[in-house]
């Protein structure tokens, strides 16, 4: 693979493994990543829903924040309740900007009262790190973890497969974190993921990553899956992709992510853009992210125009495509609040034709998390 000198492409620790498995490598957020393996996106997607798949998400950023009051300091950057997060628990939240827009979405886990573990998006990780350093770097220690890979094992058979390598893993419940041994490798494991299925994300030392990935792939029912399947799985699960569904010009309220803000944070504020977000919580946002069900067979991709029945522009599709498990086209988009009720008829302008659709509930495929 060649890369022009002005766009250096980084490789993930499992690069050799991906190529050996026949992975189709594409540039993504500056990394060469497998978009699919020879089985193809459709098969990899369906396999994840019926069995289990191993995804490499090592391009994502891993950050450790340590020091007294680190939860309180992180709360100055995110609207989530981090002080109230239990030890050993994981929570989804966002970094907001002064306008209440979303700078990134992330997972925060509490390992100890003075130790947090964050997973942030690949494309945002340098900016996130600089932001944290600038804002709270003099109060707590913010360290980018560069020597660990991140593997995601996802699917209904993930638990039974992983039990063979780690009896400890099965005891974890959804959105919890633990330092456990998997095949004698010290892993920082969260029972979480971004597919709507049960599963784990495993932070492992780079030096052990390939050997562990091979052991996971050898487990019964486990196949490799690429970024293509990861994207269609998360869309069916109604989960946001940063840069497509949420961005710096979108608030958590508009993104229908108000649930990430607990009562205390809504009341107290104390995060960037709090006044704007509190106003939207009180008065309702002007626009809202909704699930959209195209009624025909044609997928409506990102940036497809949404109109009302008379052809007046309402907004745009932010993520759209074909849902392999839903077995039909699925989409999410932004519409004015008055058009956000489930069942509201919409038109989607695909190749010049106004196709019928309506607002629908999310997710498209029920979540199947292990709640214990």
């Amino acid at each position: 693979m060649t890369a022009s000198p002005d766009t250096p492409i980084l490789t993930v620790p499992l690069d050799t493994l991906h190529r050996g498995l026949g992975g189709k490598m594409v540039p993504f957020a500056g990394y060469a990543m497998p978009v699919q393996y020879p089985a193809g996106i459709l098969t990899e997607h369906l396999h994840t829903r019926t069995s289990a798949s191993l995804f490499d998400v090592s391009h994502m950023g891993q950050v450790e924040i340590t020091g007294p009051d680190c939860a309180r300091w992180l709360e100055t950057l995110v609207p989530g309740d981090i002080q109230g997060l239990g030890i050993g628990k994981t929570r989804y939240t966002v970094f907001t900007n002064d306008q209440g827009g979303i700078q990134d979405d992330l997972m925060v886990s509490k390992l100890a009262p003075d130790r947090l573990f964050l997973v942030i998006n690949a494309a945002c990780k340098r900016a996130d790190f600089a932001h944290m350093q600038a804002m709270i770097g003099d109060k707590v220690s913010v360290r980018m973890i560069e020597d660990r890979a991140l593997l995601a094992l996802q699917g209904p058979l993930a638990a039974s497969a992983l039990a063979a390598l780690s009896p400890e893993a099965a005891a974890m419940t959804f959105m919890s974190i633990a330092e456990i041994q998997i095949a004698d490798v010290a892993c920082l494991a969260t029972r979480s993921g971004y597919t709507g299925e049960d599963g784990w994300e495993l932070s492992v030392p780079v030096t052990e990553a390939e050997a562990l990935a091979r052991k996971l792939l050898d487990l019964p029912g486990v196949m490799p899956a690429g970024l293509g399947a990861r994207d269609s799985l998360r869309l069916e699960a109604g989960l946001c992709l940063y840069g497509s569904d949420i961005d710096t010009a979108t608030t958590p309220v508009e993104a229908n992510l108000s649930w990430i803000m607990g009562k205390r944070r809504r009341t107290e504020g104390g995060f960037p853009g709090a006044a704007i977000i509190q106003k939207q919580l009180a008065e309702g946002p002007a626009r809202l992210r909704v699930g959209i069900q195209p009624l025909g067979r044609a997928p409506a991709r990102a940036h497809t125009e949404i109109t009302d029945a008379a052809g007046n522009r309402l907004g745009e599709i932010c993520s759209g495509g074909f849902g392999p498990s839903a077995d039909r086209p699925i989409a999410m988009g932004y519409v004015p609040a008055a058009f956000a009720a489930i069942g509201t008829p919409l038109k989607l302008v695909v190749r010049g034709k106004a196709l019928d659709a309506h607002v629908c509930a999310l997710p498209f495929v029920p979540h199947r998390y292990f709640k214990g």
Binding site: I41, L42, T43, H45, P299, F322
Partner: protein
């Protein structure tokens, strides 16, 4: 079939008299991945060579199919509309897209035969 002529955009046309059958190559279906939606042109539609004639969508993306020849559409292939996976299974046979009456058979001269197309594919590797 040896009488197929190919474009650089990976469409093929197989001609008998002035009637052509148009599809996408096996290389193209493989590059697209699992096809989940197709749109074929209606009978009577007049197409210029190189015009957008059909749409083929995989899980990942939508692509246009450009007409390899000018002419008037006789029929689209309803079988691939009903069962888009047929394009993956049989791109150069049962997974054809539409039949067309050629208005200018001399256009075929500019298209590649199988050997030339195979050589062209090697330059893409």
């Amino acid at each position: 079939m040896s009488d197929k002529r190919f474009t650089k955009d990976h469409e093929w046309v197989s001609v008998t008299g002035t009637t052509g059958i148009v599809g996408i190559s096996d290389y193209a279906q493989h590059a697209l991945g699992d096809v989940v939606f197709v749109e074929v042109p209606d009978a009577g539609r007049v197409l210029a060579q190189g015009a957008e004639a059909a749409v083929v969508e995989s899980v990942k993306a939508a692509s246009e199919v450009y007409s390899p020849v000018s002419g008037t559409v006789i029929a689209g292939n309803q079988a691939i509309v009903d069962q888009p996976g047929l394009v993956n299974e049989s791109a150069e046979d049962r997974g054809w897209f539409y039949k067309i009456t050629l208005s200018d058979p001399s256009e075929l001269g500019a298209l590649m035969d199988r050997a030339a197309y195979d050589s062209y594919l090697k330059t893409l590797e």
